[in-house]
Symmetry: C2
Subunit: 259 residues, 2 copies
């Protein structure tokens, strides 16, 4: 894996790190990072204790000290998200956290779930930044994250429709609607099935956090795009630790070559 070993050496030269913060920094696949760490461990370049991974003397000898002089980091203020949340968004985050406390427990365990609420509100802020909330009809293809609730708190979209396979989510949203006066619509839908006719071409914006298998990705994105009116806009998330650059390229090709 070109560059991965150098990157691990560099990162550990700055400080001891656990696997997760190393992954955050790496932009390589989880499995490639694990493979490389195992190789480096076998070669005696790194060690591990309860505080995390560290460089051995042998590992440290491979570093050119001048390569450590310049350190570029992800922006501390926005964590590399580009967008910051001002005071009103912070209030919204607080409300959102308190509302979603009673959410149905996930059926799958989500990787990096720990920042989820902040990330959801950051997504809303991004959509707002691009002018895709106010007066817009928004459809969510899957809503494990309860983005629908954060969107409702903005009071900006004209319509919010959730398609999700999980009937429990429908029940939860119904309760939230009642308690907070929201109008989130819910339709049980398996993304593997064709879309209901009346939904196709009816929305300004879709958002989705697809499964990262290729067929999952494809289904979520194609469904989302099908829901859009002319000049519609889509948002979806894709990691770098589970989706390889080859898969990213395939996704970009899917989007840019669609008719």
């Amino acid at each position: 894996m070109r560059g991965l070993r150098e990157l691990i050496l560099r990162e550990l030269a700055y400080s001891k790190k656990n696997l997760w913060s190393l992954l955050d920094r790496c932009q390589f696949l989880l499995r490639d990072v694990l493979d490389e760490l195992n190789r480096m461990y076998d070669e005696g370049l790194i060690g591990v204790d309860e505080d995390g991974l560290y460089l051995t003397e042998k590992g440290r000898s491979l570093i050119r000290p001048e390569s450590l002089r310049l350190k570029a980091g992800l922006c501390e203020a926005c964590k590399g998200r580009r967008i910051t949340l001002d005071g009103e968004f912070k209030d919204l985050l607080r409300e959102f956290k308190s509302i979603v406390k009673g959410r149905p427990r996930p059926v799958l365990d989500y990787f990096q779930g720990y920042m989820r609420e902040y990330d959801v509100v950051a997504r809303v802020a991004l959509m707002n930044y691009y002018g895709d909330l106010s007066g817009r009809d928004v459809i969510l293809i899957g809503d494990d994250d309860l983005l629908s609730v954060a969107l409702s708190l903005t009071e900006l979209p004209s319509r919010i429709l959730v398609l999700d396979i999980d009937e429990r989510l429908g029940g939860f949203l119904k309760k939230i609607n009642r308690d907070y006066g929201f109008q989130i619509e819910f339709k049980r839908h398996n993304v593997a099935d064709p879309l209901p006719e009346d939904i196709i071409g009816s929305f300004d914006v879709f958002s989705s956090e697809p499964l990262e298998t290729w067929s999952g990705l494809r289904a979520f994105i194609v469904r989302g795009v099908s829901c859009l009116k002319e000049d519609g806009v889509g948002y979806f998330g894709l990691t770098r630790v589970e989706a390889s650059l080859k898969k990213w390229r395939k996704v970009e090709r899917l989007i840019t070559t669609a008719p």
Copy 2:
């Protein structure tokens, strides 16, 4: 232009703005923004004075006040670049600014030239963040920005080759090499011509700031990619004010469908 009018109304509702800060915020084409501003002016929605554009009472009446409550902005700390420059990078920026003072004057006028030096160093920081500097062979397809000089200041790349049509740049780099002990290589090259054989497939990284005409874009990117070894990496810049989203899509298709 869908959403553009709302965005202009919103932005001017927050504060009076000049055309450039509005463009910065807009992510729409310069010509579309100008067209829309003219229409809005004709309809009496906006006015203009020496401090910039402002909303008239009629314009202000079109805004839903609740749409202004939440304001997401580009991160102040990194200006939306995701990457921040630490102390050492700030020193590098100072050195860079002082070295490039004597640069040949541009033959074309560059849009948004005022932040160029900071932007160049931010580019270097980004390349550093992705692990694409240390020990790498880097080729620059065009070097109006003198990225080669900023790269040399890092002392990290193994090789830096500049291809540029402007012979004066070669002379300037020669002088810089002599004065600062750099080893920047220069080859005069018109991007419309085929690449020299010995360059093809020889580099780890390319960087380019293409012309934004389609044929220009295509030539710079295809040349850059041709210079790369297996698993090589490319960086190039593209604006949103001069290149339409349709052009962006075409560029992504070019990159992702190449064999």
